[in-house]
């Protein structure tokens, strides 16, 4: 019995039990991670999981069931249970559910991969992390940590409309962090970001990060931060490095444009959105430099795929164009409810999880400047980079983010390092204050986006480059 056979059996059983639509995903995922601390391997974990999840629609009500068994009997039972659960949902019914049309295709897709990350010898991967963490301790770090993670996912999708799609997506990445511990506080520096940079690529991404070459510098910077002056409190011009801007996009744009949040489907947990669909196409989200795209077609970016988890093909769309809000992240049912004609942003964290609206690659198109030009054009401000903490309200408006490091900017030059830099603001006011944007774009990958109940971890991409924001409140502390 093939994976397609199991998925087809589940779908057919759901239909036979009374569903008017059903789809099923078989997923086979292999995962490997290694962490190292202070020159020793701390943990090596490998996981292999395979199973099937089936979704059934009865009237206006959904049901979902998942099993780790691809036998015909188990698949059919899962289909029946999904339909039975959908019938239970109908005891507290909602409005009619439609699905925007998607061409039913038979297709295959695979992400690019030059060096199979699971094929690289463990000893080589261990030596990389051990060497980098040892170098950080030799240069003053009290706590030197290194990490890589690899996911190799094959999935088979079948729907009652006729989809038969298989995909193989390989993802990997890694990074290092140095922490120095002082009296009553700690300071951390990371490369290239805390817990690393990730993409839908092979091991070549990790090699390109050259972790060992950056170990000494970040260790010394973490130590120096313990005695650096604190980031002053007040309003100033803020320059964000690309990694922190990726986080800013993720939290204050990506989640805000999720259609399920806008429709209230996440109201009790992840939250809603300050965006009102009545203003789609007219609302000014940010300055004219702000051009945000939803683009799952970017080769190598972490949020890339061939088809989403309800069979919609990857398509690039605008979310914000010239500062104006023009698009959302949607699924087939949420789009129909909002009278939109596209989905394409629905994914499930494994076979046991319900597909839901998730970010793909939500990124900022490059601007005309460079970071050095932005610094040179700034008379008085602060440059911050690498996220250390992030917090934002349930409407995705009020945020406060902390970074690992800040630098004073005076008369166009980078000056002293500043510790505990934080900044705070209101999303659209912040984005409207962006007046300079670099062209030095990197497709930052975020492998830890939490959403949903039961919880799901999403992998998202965020092309971003350094940018300047005017009159931002910085230096918030306890």
């Amino acid at each position: 019995m093939t994976e397609f056979d199991a998925a087809s059996a589940a779908v057919q059983a759901a239909l036979d039990a009374g569903a008017r639509y059903a789809d099923a995903r078989v997923m086979h995922r292999r995962y490997e991670s290694m962490t190292a601390r202070n020159g020793d391997v701390e943990e090596l974990t490998q996981d292999e999981s395979i199973g099937l999840g089936v979704r059934a629609l009865v009237g206006a009500s959904w049901g979902f069931h998942a099993v780790p068994d691809l036998s015909d009997a188990a698949a059919r039972d899962a289909g029946r249970r999904a339909t039975r659960t959908a019938m239970a949902s109908a005891r507290v019914p909602g409005p009619a559910v439609d699905l925007v049309p998607v061409e039913a295709v038979t297709a295959s897709w695979a992400s690019g991969c030059q060096i199979d990350p699971l094929g690289v010898p463990l000893s080589d991967k261990g030596d990389l992390l051990v060497g980098a963490t040892r170098a950080m301790t030799e240069h003053g770090a009290d706590l030197a940590e290194g990490l890589y993670q690899i996911w190799d996912t094959a999935k088979w999708f079948v729907s009652s409309e006729g989809h038969r799609i298989d995909q193989r997506i390989r993802e990997c990445g890694g990074g290092i962090s140095a922490t120095s511990i002082g009296d009553g506080e700690t300071q951390r520096r990371s490369w290239p970001s805390y817990r690393g940079q990730y993409g839908t690529t092979g091991w070549e991404l990790v090699e390109s990060l050259d972790l060992a070459a950056h170990a000494a510098q970040i260790a010394e910077e973490s130590r120096a931060l313990l005695t650096a002056p604190p980031c002053p409190a007040g309003e100033t011009d803020l320059i964000l490095g690309g990694e922190q801007l990726a986080l800013q996009i993720h939290e204050s744009v990506g989640h805000a444009i999720e259609l399920d949040r806008i429709l209230g489907w996440e109201a009790a947990f992840a939250g809603t959105s300050w965006l009102d669909l009545a203003q789609l196409g007219s609302l000014r989200y940010g300055s004219e430099l702000m051009n945000i795209t939803i683009d799952p077609t970017i080769p190598g970016a972490l949020g890339s795929f061939g088809f989403d988890d309800e069979g919609s093909p990857a398509v690039k769309r605008d979310a914000v164009r010239g500062g104006r809000w023009v698009g959302v992240l949607a699924g087939r049912d949420s789009a129909a409810m909002a009278s939109l004609d596209y989905g394409g942003s629905v994914r499930a964290d494994g076979w046991a999880r319900l597909p839901m609206v998730r970010m793909t690659n939500v990124g900022l198109e490059p601007g005309p400047h460079t970071l050095e030009e932005i610094i040179a054009a700034t008379d008085d401000g602060v440059l911050m980079d690498l996220n250390r903490s992030w917090s934002i309200d349930d409407k995705r408006l009020n945020f406060q983010f902390g970074c690992e490091v800040g630098w004073e900017i005076k008369k166009g030059r980078r000056g002293r390092m500043l510790r505990n830099p934080t900044y705070t603001g209101i999303g659209p006011l912040f984005w409207r204050s962006m007046d300079m944007l670099s062209s030095e774009t990197v497709p930052w990958g975020t492998p830890n986006c939490g959403k949903g109940q039961p919880g799901q971890i999403g992998h998202t991409g965020h092309p971003a480059a350094p940018a300047r924001f005017r009159n931002v409140r910085v230096g918030v502390s306890a």
Partner: protein, 465 residues
């Protein structure tokens, strides 16, 4: 128990394929998890899963590797063992390997409620329906969930353990003009969750939260309701009483030092409710006093951090613990003597009536000259792990208290505060008598807390910036 047989098979496979020197521990868990989710007063997501998982950790020739999987056929188990052995042989040395848990009788676990373990989707849906109906026409959202786990442990030192757990939780909001009220409960039995009671509670809070005014940021005296206190307990556990962070000197915890107010006693009580009687390393779980009358007494350890600290494992190993550290996930903040029940009658007036839903909170509110009543905290993130300075926001209802009376709803505020400092000596002005169990995001974890009155909380921003 089938799980115990499977765990034993894995350990035996390691012995056969890896030789007598291979040390192995295996955990097999079957789970039936279900969650019925509602929004806009209708069930919109309704999921269930029947899963099985095997986790193997082995140590061979000074090297350690972990493996896990969902395939429990003979071939699947053999493949798991072979790839984990291969990983161990190729992996770097692990000089901090703490060895296996010795054979020790596991403590008795509380009985499992079979009706909860095998609850049907209709039963969850009916509780959701009751919540929606009790909200009196307000828009509602939330979930009702049930969980059942059957788990067994075996290691090559001859230690075995097994057990089952079942629990249920319900968490919902009612909404009025963008103002939300919340009701949240964790229970060992689904039958203990009353959807109508919770829906009415959330609706009363939402009605009282309408038309909020904005207050300037600054330091305020506060009364935190149990949902907000649960966030304090979770962060104290993850970052403070975590043995890994302790041995790394990233924790504030100093055993023997009076770091908290004398009214604070914190006990991790994993078998105080339905729970598995052993941790990920097979160590028996038991109650652990972390703070006694304000003095820090202990931190949670697994075998690895215990060796580093010169201590014994406290039974708090979790999967992935070498990276994240041991976790206390069943924390109870002990309540104080009951406050005067009569205080409930004079703690709310006019439009804010309904903000205070129980006598415990009312008694604390009655003592506040000027401060804020906070229902819930949201998106709390650590700025510095050692001082445990955290930023986050209020959510699901904030009210201004003046002269012991809740006078009006307030818009959400951002705070930046050191949690241990806010609970420090002299900083806790009162605790309610009755801890209320609040669910974590994962089954099996809960935080039991009464309402708490704190002398000062640093609000660093308003909803509009």
């Amino acid at each position: 128990m089938r799980e115990l047989e499977l765990a034993g098979q894995v350990v035996e496979l390691v012995r056969r394929l890896g030789g007598p020197g291979a040390q192995a521990e295996a955990v097999v868990t079957r789970a039936d998890l279900a969650l019925t989710r509602f929004a806009n007063s209708a069930i919109h997501q309704n999921v269930s899963e029947s899963t099985v998982g095997v986790r193997l950790r082995l140590h061979l020739d000074g090297r350690t590797a972990g493996g896990s999987g969902s395939i429990v056929t003979a071939d699947g188990l053999r493949a798991l063992v072979e790839r984990t052995l291969a990983a161990a042989r190729l992996g770097p040395l692990d000089p901090a390997w703490p060895g296996l848990a010795p054979p020790t009788p596991a403590p008795a676990a509380p009985p499992v409620d079979e009706a909860t373990a095998y609850a049907e989707p209709d039963q969850r849906a009916d509780r959701v329906g009751a919540f929606v109906a009790a909200a009196g026409g307000l828009s509602t959202a939330g979930y009702c969930r049930t969980a059942h786990r059957s788990s067994a442990f075996a290691n090559s030192a001859g230690h075995t353990a097994s057990g089952r757990s079942a629990d249920a939780a319900m968490d919902g909001i009612a909404r009025r003009d963008g103002a939300d009220g919340v009701a949240r409960r964790y229970a060992d039995r689904l039958s203990d969750l009353d959807g109508a009671e919770l829906g009415a509670h959330a609706a009363a809070k939402a009605q009282a939260a309408a038309d909020p005014v904005e207050l300037p940021p600054g330091r305020y005296e506060v009364v935190f309701e149990p949902a907000a206190v649960a966030d304090l307990l979770q962060n104290l556990s993850w970052y403070g009483f975590n043995g890994k962070r302790y041995v790394e000197r990233q924790s504030f915890a100093e055993p023997g030092v009076a770091q908290f107010d004398r009214s604070v006693t914190l006990v991790d009580d994993p078998l105080g409710a339905s729970g598995l009687p052993f941790d990920a390393e097979g160590t028996g779980r038991r109650a652990l006093t972390l703070v006694e009358a304000g003095t820090t007494r202990a931190v949670a350890h697994d075998r690895r951090t215990a060796v580093e600290a010169g201590a014994e494992s406290t039974g708090h190993a979790v999967a992935g613990g070498a990276t994240w550290g041991p976790m206390a996930r069943n924390l109870r903040l002990s309540g104080a003597a009951a406050g005067p029940a009569s205080a409930a009658g004079r703690s709310t007036t006019g439009a804010a009536a309904g903000a205070v839903g129980d006598a415990d909170t009312a008694a604390l509110v009655a003592g506040v000259r000027r401060g804020l009543l906070v229902s819930d905290l949201w998106y709390t993130r650590v700025l510095d792990p050692k001082s445990l300075v955290i930023t986050g926001l209020t959510r699901n209802g904030v009210w201004l208290i003046e002269d012991g009376t809740v006078v009006r709803a307030v818009r959400d505020l951002r705070f930046t505060e050191s949690y241990p400092r806010a609970l420090g000596p002299g900083a806790v002005l009162g605790l309610g008598a009755r801890p209320v169990r609040q669910p974590d995001r994962v089954d099996g974890a809960w935080w039991a807390a009464p309402s708490v009155r704190l002398a000062s909380w640093h609000f660093t921003g308003g909803a509009s910036g």
